[in-house]
């Protein structure tokens, strides 16, 4: 809490996951879209490697890791893996429908698109990424359609129209299922493609170094948050990289202010306040 928030200086507000962090604009040299990173072996895990910054080899700190958060690559990859599983879910779902028809037994998997694992995730997932939300809309119709098959084919099978039921199943495999699978694959691709971090280049004590952030939210002036107000919200600042908490204008929320001078000091804890 030694560093106070200078209300006269603009701050660079960066986003890591759901949190906002403030970097003193006087230490920020530039911001670039993350170039290819060359990993360096045998260094602390938050040192992600080195990048080429216009001919200068510059070290890169994974700021999420440095602050004890999961790295954004890990975030993306785990979401991709989740999507892969959901794609498999639907493949198995159709297999099970096929089997239940052939073996003339009850189909027990979700008939309601909102009840399958993907449906539950889909209904609850929120993102401010327009590309992602736009793409996710494409799932809506085919997803409803594939789950509707359970009733349609089940009805046909009950009526004894086995041939028709099996034909529909076959059509579904090459039609709606492959559409769904392609959507899942494209979505993963989109996730990976849109996973473009920003490298914020900071002035170090000797040269420059870069920190990775998810995105840069804005550059604006901040005012110091009231300690009592923070205490009221259950926020308590400990000694660490986060030196204080600042308020954005117009009650847009709080920003954790980072003391950049100790980012490269391995002994310094992240000090993200606990809520």
């Amino acid at each position: 809490m030694n560093a106070t928030v200078d209300a006269r200086m603009p701050w660079v507000i960066v986003q890591l996951g759901t949190r906002l962090f403030g970097l003193n604009c006087s230490v920020v040299r530039e911001m670039v879209i993350m170039p290819e990173v060359c990993e360096v072996p045998g260094v602390p895990d938050y040192m992600r490697g080195v990048i080429n910054l216009r001919g200068r080899v510059t070290s890169l700190v994974d700021l999420r890791r440095r602050l004890g958060m999961r790295s954004s690559t890990e975030d993306t990859e785990s979401l991709c893996e989740l999507m892969e599983q959901r794609a498999q879910d639907h493949r198995r779902w159709l297999d099970e429908l096929d089997a239940s028809v052939n073996e003339k037994r009850a189909f027990t998997l979700a008939r309601d698109p909102h009840q399958c694992a993907f449906g539950k995730w889909y209904d609850n997932f929120k993102t401010d990424n327009i590309l992602m939300s736009g793409f996710l809309k494409k799932f809506e119709v085919p997803h409803k359609r594939i789950h509707a098959l359970a009733d349609e084919i089940g009805e046909l099978a009950e009526k004894g129209c086995m041939g028709q039921a099996l034909e529909q199943l076959e059509q579904a495999r090459t039609g709606i299922l492959s559409t769904m699978l392609r959507l899942f694959a494209d979505f993963q691709q989109l996730l990976r493609d849109s996973h473009r971090e920003i490298a914020v280049v900071l002035n170090g004590s000797v040269g420059a170094y870069a920190v990775s952030v998810d995105s840069v939210a804005s550059v604006e002036k901040l005012s110091e948050a009231d300690t009592e107000e923070l205490a009221g919200k259950g926020l308590e600042i400990r000694e660490g990289l986060v030196t204080s908490v600042a308020k954005r204008a117009k009650g847009q929320g709080l920003v954790l202010v980072l003391g950049t001078e100790s980012i490269l000091d391995p002994a310094m804890h992240s000090g993200i306040p606990q809520t």
Binding site: E36, C38, V40, P41, G42, M47, V57, T58, S59, G204
Partner: protein, 665 residues
């Protein structure tokens, strides 16, 4: 002469007064309100100068004072400054210098704190000391050489003057003492004997230490030994036969050197300084490094353009072809020029060696003549700096171990005086430095016996002569049983080798029993660029410095062995070499874990060959070495980073670091 003897105090005081005034003018400006005061001061200076016999100065001061009183509103600052300069000139022009030994602490305290002036002083004094040392050694060979004495005298005199100016009393006092002694020598009242040379060299050493203290920012430049040095110089002047009694009686009065000499020495040194300033610019080394760095990148970018497929396909276009050739020529020229800016002649290093050889040979009672060749050979400043210690060590070794005592030499039918040759030249894009002596040569059987005793060589091993010579470069070879005052202090040739390898160089040894030994240091021209092999492991790219690579091959299954289920070995040309799997060391996923599908690079670290296993070789490339940036200071096994062709960063491997970690694992 008379005038000077009578009124030195007054002269010094006046100079001081005028200097103060000039300084006040520069610092405080000449506001209108201060003009009457200035005019009064000047009038007073005029009176005093007149009384003290400085006619010209008195006239100038009166003139100035009058013009100030007459024209109070005019643009006086420039006029005043110019007038003061004339006044200063008038005061010094009459042959009077502030007498250094008796000078009061000048009132201008800020000068000594001016870092730029002090830096200039350090630089210039060091230059003078180098010249002095060089001339002293010359003087020793020809004790009567008046040019040498004069040149040494001038050097000390200038240092004294500068030190007085910047208030370094200890440097000033010692320089003054030596200057006085040298003046006696110039007048033939003091003989240049070897002991006199010793005393002068001792004072040079003192000044070198004191200047180092100034550089390190110590509060006082005085370092231990000042009184001792002064005593020695005084004893030399008092006690040497050939010094007339009158001279020693005169000595406590501290007769200033003959005015003629002052008058000659000062303008000359000033003129020289002005000349040096106008023809050179001092540039921060980091800027120079950045320039060399960027030029290196430019050369690489240029070669990428040249080898671009589209450009190569358009090779038929004669105009493009010509323009590209022109571009290549220009970039090459720019690179050479940029490199040359970092280059220094090796002569300075040889100079230090000359001094050391002189001291050592006297100490051990051996007669050694130093022959130097190629002093003008240029090499990178950093390399020159890093090379100083190893070179001195090798020279010490030559004199201590290589060269025999005079009796032994004569008994062997050789001249009693031994030769040590230091030579430097460029060969095949490298700088080669030769350290040769005509001593007893290396004794193969003794080296081998000792190596076996130390466990550095196996009993049955059959070693070539070259292999045996290389044993002296092994750690732990040079040890306690040969400690002398000079060499064998526990640091041996292995330290030399490590240092040379750090500079990406190699040592070669040639020796013939009874005829002498020659050490060849082969060093790169620059540290900024290296030739490297670009290799891959999985999707990662690394650069293996070419100088560390002996050969590479894809092993056959029968040439791979595992010793004690732990250490993997490969049979290379009849020798079993340890294998280091780079992907394991760096924790990567390789394309293949089978050595027979991969590539083994036989590399060398600290003289030890080993095999480095990588996936594939992509090619050979010249790269500019860059540090990894902040927070990644020293990464074991990685020497630095380089920008590869496509703009990606590749890591340059450090063989020593890789091998060291492997050996300790």
């Amino acid at each position: 002469m008379n005038k000077q003897d009578e009124i030195p105090e007054a002269g010094v005081g006046l100079r001081q007064c005028v200097d103060d005034l000039a300084m006040q003018l520069i610092l405080g400006g000449s506001g209108d309100d201060r003009l009457p005061e200035l005019a009064a001061t000047l009038a007073q200076i005029g009176r005093q100068s007149g009384e003290a016999g400085y006619g010209e100065a008195a006239r100038v001061a009166r003139e100035l004072s009058a013009s100030l009183s007459a024209d109070l509103a005019g643009p006086v600052a420039a006029q005043l400054q110019e007038g003061l300069a004339r006044l200063q000139q008038a005061l010094s022009g009459s042959g009077l210098e502030p007498e250094p030994a008796t000078a009061r602490p000048p009132a201008i305290a800020s000068l000594a704190q001016d870092p730029e002036l002090v830096a200039d002083f350090i630089l210039e004094s060091r230059e003078h000391l180098t010249t002095i040392e060089q001339r002293i050694l010359m003087l020793e060979r020809e004790p009567g050489n008046p040019d040498a004495i004069n040149s040494i005298f001038r050097g000390f005199h200038t240092i004294k003057g500068l030190a007085g100016f910047l208030e370094f009393p200890s440097i000033q006092a010692v320089a003054h003492e030596v200057e006085t002694a040298l003046n006696l020598a110039r007048e033939g009242k003091l003989a240049i004997t070897p002991s006199a040379i010793d005393v002068i060299l001792e004072s040079v050493d003192y000044l070198t230490r004191a200047i180092a203290a100034v550089e390190s920012g110590a509060r006082s430049e005085r370092v231990p030994g000042q009184d001792h040095v002064i005593e020695r110089v005084q004893a030399l002047m008092a006690g040497e036969p050939g010094v007339p009694a009158r001279a020693s009686a005169e000595y406590p009065v501290m007769t200033p050197p003959a005015p003629a000499a002052e008058a000659v020495a000062r303008p000359e040194s000033k003129a020289r300084r002005v000349a040096a300033e106008s023809s050179s610019v001092r540039v921060d080394t980091s800027k120079l490094d950045y320039l060399v760095d960027m030029v290196g990148e430019m050369v690489i970018a240029q070669s990428l353009v040249r080898h671009n497929q589209v450009v190569a396909a358009a090779g038929g276009d004669p105009r493009l072809h010509r323009d590209l050739a022109q571009l290549t020529r220009i970039t090459g020229e720019v690179q050479r020029t940029a490199m040359a800016m970092r280059m220094v002649p090796i002569g300075q290093l040889f100079q230090r060696a000359a001094r050391q050889i002189r001291d050592l040979s006297r100490k051990v009672g051996k007669q050694v003549e130093l022959v130097t060749r190629g002093e003008d050979t240029q090499l990178d400043k950093t390399i020159a700096e890093e090379l100083a210690d190893p070179l001195m060590h090798m020279v010490r070794n030559s004199i201590d171990h290589g060269i025999e005592a005079p009796e032994v030499r004569e008994a062997a039918g050789k001249a009693a005086q031994a030769n040590v040759t230091l030579a430097a030249y460029h060969r095949a894009g490298q700088v080669v430095i030769e350290i040769a002596d005509d001593g007893r040569g290396l004794d193969c059987s003794k080296i081998l016996a000792k190596a076996r005793e130390k466990g550095l060589a196996e009993d049955g091993a059959h070693l070539s002569e070259g292999d045996i010579f290389r044993l002296i470069l092994e750690p732990g070879f040079s040890t306690a049983n040969q400690v002398t005052d000079i060499s064998g202090r526990g640091v041996g040739m292995d330290v030399v080798r490590r240092q040379v390898e750090k500079l990406r160089g190699r040592i070669e040894i040639r020796s013939q029993a009874g005829q002498g030994t020659t050490f060849l240091l082969k060093l790169p021209l620059t540290l900024a660029i290296i030739d490297g092999l670009v290799v891959t492991i999985g999707r990662h790219r690394y650069i293996v410095p070419l100088f560390a690579v002996r050969e590479m091959f894809r092993p056959a299954a029968e040439s791979m062995f595992t010793v004690q289920n732990r250490q993997e070995m490969a049979l290379v040309r009849g020798r079993l070499l340890p294998v280091l799997r780079l992907y394991k060391r760096f924790g990567l996923t390789p394309r293949t874990e089978d050595p027979c599908q991969a590539l083994l690079i036989v590399a060398e670290a600290e003289g030890q060959p080993f095999c480095l296993m990588v996936d594939d070789l992509i090619g050979k490339q010249e790269v500019v070495i860059k540090s990894l940036g902040e927070g990644l200071g020293k990464v074991p096994g990685v020497a630095g980073g380089a920008i590869l062709g496509e703009g990606h960063v590749g890591l340059i491997l450090d063989m020593g670091g890789l091998w060291g970690v492997r050996a300790h694992a």
